[in-house]
Symmetry: C2
Subunit: 120 residues, 2 copies
């Protein structure tokens, strides 16, 4: 068997780790949340701009995901009223705690892309 | 706006990163896959043992997820024929490439648990 992070841990420590990963995936898992966070990382965006940046997401799902990201403190809605009322979304300070997870996912994704390419 | 991993990157570099994270989430995202990998990390398990370890997963979904993990090279089925035929699942060498992602998710999950606790 290959060794991952938990093989040196006691069963109790392992359960704690499993719980922490489950909790993390409960809040930021799924197909879209981290992609929306990344799309907002270059600056605040309007709803339609986010939808264009996150290829394949429907308006209904994006609206639902944005609400959940807002509840969990990663994204905030900003209402700009100059000529007309414009609603924009931007990242909160708390979203920067996701940096290490995103870097790890990005590195793994690049490695996996290279593996797939050499297998083709 | 808070700063994540991409704010110092050009638009092209940022798209590459977004692509890599999307690819990673496509393969290992979702509610169950990393939890199944973690459950197998302490050693090979039979189907029912995995289902008990991954609380809340149905047999139908577990079967589907195990097939996808097998196709993507993270898990292998092992047929042990001693007295009766027993099918077990175990991690492949390739699954150990997920270590950094799992460590990052686990650390973030622990930090998030502490934050939630102090807010209650």
């Amino acid at each position: 068997m290959a060794e991952l992070a938990t093989s040196h841990l006691s069963q109790q420590q392992c359960r704690g780790k499993l719980g922490a990963v489950s909790d993390a995936l409960y809040v930021i898992g799924g197909k879209w949340k981290l992609r929306i966070v990344l799309a907002l990382d270059q600056g605040h965006k309007r709803f339609n701009e986010i939808q264009r940046a996150v290829t394949g997401i429907s308006a209904r799902v994006l609206s639902h995901e944005l609400k959940e990201l807002e509840i969990n403190g990663f994204v905030q809605r900003k209402i700009c009223a100059e000529r007309s009322v414009v609603i924009e979304y931007e990242l909160t300070e708390y979203s920067s705690t996701l940096q290490e997870v995103l870097e790890a996912l990005s590195r793994w994704g690049e490695m996996h892309q290279r593996k797939i390419r050499t297998e083709l």
